[in-house]
Amino acid sequence: MATREASCSCGQLSLQAEGDPFHVGICHCLACQRRTGSAFGMQAGYPADRITVSGRSTDYARTSDEADRKVHVFHFCPDCGGTVFYTEPDEPDLIVVMVGAFADPLFPPPVESGYEARRHPWVGLPDTMERDDLWGQVLPLYEAGDYAAAADRGRELLGGQPENGRLAYNVACCESLAGRTTDAVEHLRIAVGGGGDAVRTMAANDQDFDPIRDDPAFREIVGS
């Protein structure tokens, strides 16, 4: 299996990643801009058991602005400041590596671009990349607790981007919360098909799926 090595600027903190990442994305949010000092962050997600870290690191924990208030712990080299990876205490099976730390322009390109609203307008991205504008249109309905309307709108948008795993996952959440078990299972299946084990784990721990947690099809998908 292909192995890649990522390291900080001075080389003190490094990691080995076995195989390809299951997801590569860029994120234009202001927190990614401040952390990187660049126009966006670029991250690659791996199952934790494919990553071997060596060297000293300092932790910086930050709670996401998003509705899930998820905690991200960034690990940086105390000697040069390079952040090499982050982890999520709620998802011990996941390690997310900063792609720049691989210093490889031929690294698999990003498939998703998040926080489009914060994109520096001169940054040009290929048309093939998924933008998160779509979920941004559904989010206010979700946040207002209007899950049936969110599910309707999400389903409509998903019609134009059937392979959009992130959107499919979020729509499945809305459908679960709206009591539409069959639809939720169908869309979660699409999301897991594209994202694999990390998405399975995420679904297993996501409270949005509590209404369908005992459904046999759900149990089969998440493997519980």
């Binding site: 401040r34 126009a39 400041g81 792609v99």
Partner: protein, 223 residues
């Protein structure tokens, strides 16, 4: 005067910059990729006397790949964000643009280390790229300085804001025994990019013109 605030992720280390930057650029080099964790570095240079830094910071010193010039990067020891760097021209401070957290920040006018660009990244035509020099580099490496100087002259005219190109052509002209052309292109380069002055002061490519009064005047050394 307008002023902008740049901070690290946790807000402990911050920089206040008055007025607009004198130069905004992105750099695709591998060192910028490692430092940022992103696919390029994005810097805005301000005159040092317009920048006020507050907060604790740790210094990381790195020698550039192409000649050992020191760069000093300053990061927050609590969250790891590198907020600014110094080196090259002592009169300028380079602030990491992401730390301004402002998508409407003035866009870059120059992109360097084009050869390390992640190919999926698309940049607008208005941003000068260093492809022009990349084409000439093999000739320079082969010691064909007169050939580089011949081909370089029209390229400098075609890329009017690309200071590093004018500088590199001046180096070749110096090495090819064309002092007048070298001085003219060095003058252009320094007008566009002050930070090249300290490089010119120590660059052995310019030894052939170092004793000329015009060179001393450009570099600001006593005759």
């Amino acid at each position: 005067m307008t002023s902008r605030e740049a901070t690290c992720s946790c807000g402990q280390l911050h920089v206040r910059a008055e007025g607009d930057p004198v130069r905004v650029s992105i750099c695709h080099c591998l060192a910028c990729q490692r430092r940022t964790g992103s696919s390029f570095g994005y810097q805005a240079r301000f005159p040092a006397d317009r920048v006020t830094v507050t907060g604790r910071r740790t210094e990381y010193v790195r020698h550039s790949d192409d000649g050992g010039e020191e760069r000093h990067f300053w990061f927050c020891p609590d969250c790891g964000s590198t907020v600014f760097h110094t080196g090259g021209d002592p009169g300028l401070i380079a602030v990491a643009v992401g730390c301004f957290a402002d998508p409407s920040f003035p866009p870059p006018t120059v992109a360097v280390y084009e050869s390390r660009r992640h190919p999926w990244l698309d940049l607008p035509e208005e941003i000068e790229r260093d492809d022009a020099w990349a084409e000439l580099l093999p000739l320079y490496d082969a010691g064909e300085y007169a050939a580089v100087a011949d081909r370089g002259k029209p390229l400098v005219e075609a890329h009017p804001t690309y200071a590093e190109l004018a500088y590199n052509i001046a180096c070749c002209e110096s090495l090819a025994g064309r002092p007048d052309d070298a001085i003219a292109h060095l003058r252009l380069a320094l007008e566009r990019e002050q930070s090249l002055r300290s490089e010119a002061a120590v660059d052995s490519d310019l030894d052939a013109i170092r004793e000329l009064p015009a060179f001393r005047e450009l570099i600001g050394q006593p005759a």
